[in-house]
Subunit: 400 residues, 2 copies
């Protein structure tokens, strides 16, 4: 946001005008833990969304996709059960969750969106859900945003949230965001859920294109374990309470709006990697010189998802050979004799062989909590970046 002096960023959920939220403990998880979140806009909001590309999709994802073209008043989210792989019954249960919420809020049920995250292949405990929804509705408040961001947590060790405020047409606009992941819920499934709320007036198509672009640059560039969930959901609600002229490409503040959305999605995406299960180091993989962008992406992901590379980052020994190996077996074209690898600014390999930097200098880079591996394939102009973390014994303990 460096170009926009009038914008400010806060590491909290600050609800935009016209939104209320709640994070309630309804008994889906043991021990009076918050496990249901409700996000609500009095005024129907323009909706945008992106969802998992997994062919196996949770009922809540299918429901959101169906409703995305209409407006939205609310999102009801439960943790503790993913409601995935439950067939027709799962769809009925997701619809009943939306119905119960809509009835209490006094809105059309088609304006209620649903997310679930947790154990897969087990029916939603509808009695607990239906007893819980009235509690969440009662607890809705203007201050409930942070509480909601806690209720969607699973193995997350901390809530992930942030807010950007900036002017549009001279009027104050707020975009806030919260997300969870990439932790396991119960011991069964990793899921990324993210909700963005804004009071800006935004054209519907423009909103979707802004979100698609922001997700592409942030959530689609992180990887913890290479496993893509059945429940991944990003929703953006714009309720228009700020009263600005509708934001779209031709609006002078369009770029500022997109930048705010980008700032939040990138902030949240990096928080996911930092909080990756068992992770102790965040590593940025930057590939350039691939034949094209697609191959740069493939090469970066091959390195980021290599179990041998990820485990090598637990210790401090700079195993650039494993990076060469992962590049070599990727589907991206690699000419071994041209590959250059740097750890932060220290050359590790040049022309595919050791660059002569002392082991101690490379170890010093790898000992850091965060570092960047720059790879130049020297074959073309393709570039890509992926953010990832190491794979520790703790990851295995969490997921066994």
């Amino acid at each position: 946001m460096s170009n926009h002096k009038k914008s400010s960023i806060t590491e909290e959920v600050v609800l935009p005008k016209g939104f209320k939220a709640a994070g309630s403990a309804v008994g889906l998880k043991k021990g009076n833990v918050k496990d249901m979140a409700l996000l609500f806009s009095e005024k129907p909001a323009v909706m945008a969304g992106t969802f998992t590309t997994n062919q196996v999709k949770a009922a809540s994802v299918k429901l959101c996709q169906k409703r995305l073209s209409g407006k939205g008043h609310a999102v009801i989210i439960n943790s503790g059960n993913a409601n995935a792989c439950n067939g027709a019954q799962g769809m009925l249960d997701a619809e009943r969750m939306a119905q119960a919420t809509a009835r209490l809020l006094g809105v059309d049920e088609r304006t209620v969106f649903v997310s679930s995250t947790g154990r897969i292949g087990v029916r939603l405990p509808m009695n607990i859900i239906e007893d819980g929804i009235p509690k969440a509705v009662r607890e809705l408040s203007r201050d409930g945003g942070n509480s909601a961001s806690e209720a969607i947590m699973t193995t997350d060790t901390k809530p992930k949230r942030c807010t950007v405020r900036f002017p549009v047409d001279g009027k104050p606009v707020t975009v806030t965001g919260m997300c969870k992941g990439a932790g396991m819920i119960e011991p069964n499934m990793a899921t990324m859920l993210c909700y963005l709320l804004t009071d800006a007036v935004v054209d519907s198509d423009a909103l979707q294109s802004c979100l698609t672009d922001a997700v592409k640059k942030s959530f689609n560039r992180i990887t913890v374990d290479g496993d893509r969930s059945t429940n991944d959901t990003v929703l953006l609600m714009a309720n228009g309470e700020a009263g600005n002229k509708p934001l779209k490409k031709s609006h002078p503040d369009w770029d500022a709006f997109c930048e705010a959305v980008n700032t939040i999605t990138m902030n949240l995406a990096l928080k996911i990697v930092e909080d990756g299960e068992g992770a102790s180091k965040v590593v940025t993989i930057r590939v350039k010189g691939a034949r094209n962008e697609a191959e740069a992406d493939i090469a970066a992901r091959s390195v980021a998802n290599s179990l041998l590379v990820k485990t090598s980052w637990v210790g401090d020994y700079p195993n650039w050979g494993r990076i060469m190996d992962a590049l070599g077996y990727s589907e991206a074209k690699v000419d071994e004799g041209r590959v250059e690898i740097r750890y932060d600014d220290m050359p590790a390999a040049k022309d595919g062989v050791a660059a002569g930097t002392s082991l101690e200098d490379l170890k010093r880079v790898q000992r850091q909590k965060a570092f960047t591996i720059d790879i130049d394939l020297h074959l073309g102009a393709g570039e890509a970046v992926v953010y990832t973390c190491n794979c520790t014994e703790e990851y295995v303990r969490i997921n066994m």
Copy 2:
């Protein structure tokens, strides 16, 4: 080998006629451990080979590929250093290894093959190699086969070897095999090396097609961590000392020969999975009902390489949802509502939802040291099988 009563299998290296072998401690590794193997045939042998498909290839692999069309007298193998990512110097060093061996054996250097396995990106210590080769040559003996199978070990916890004997044209023929992997060498690189020796007389093209087929059904169907090495090598030497009529497709004993080779490669491949780094369980993933064989293979590998699936097998909780998830994000076509998953013979999922088998029954399967997951996609006739292992905390400790 059930159809061939006259064949016998032994879990040892029994050298075929005309072969000698040695496993020597030459000082590449610390602590007087065997780290150089030499396999030698007095008579030049017909050669067949398959090699890593990684674009980054060790010098020894490049040298073997170049020499494969000619005959072979010997293979010289070192552990402790992979001689990969060493550029032109690496090629020179591999050639020098072959030259030194050839000179002492009194054979043409082009008939000497080389393998290396160990640390990557570090020059071979040629003084140790060149002092070691004479020792290995001196230690060559008819009984040296088992010793050689120990010298190629790295993080392997036991040697992997077996021998099949059967008659061809009424004459006794031996095929023996040894392999190492998929362990790390030093802390840097996983590699699979395998050597098969036979005294059968075999036509050159037939030998290669027999080996290619056997590797496809065995070593290409196992995965420990999804990382493909720079050094993987399978070599088969047939020196013809048995004096049978040349084996090829038209020979009545051709199938018996291929079956012997298949028996050995499958035996060794399964030993690799059983001895996978940190592994405590061997899991067979069998996919059927895919649209075609290629998609069956993709689906099986997606499950076998999913970190979430592999870690779930450490405990006994039957996470079939993670299998659904890994199928769903594979590039194979999956229709969630048709997927069937069984743990051994217990149905876990049917039509994409829980099949109703008790958790305790599924847990009983997953508690075993070895079990099979049968997946039916119900979309076509494609079938594939992959053998893999779980991913434990010990895997991380070995590779960090």
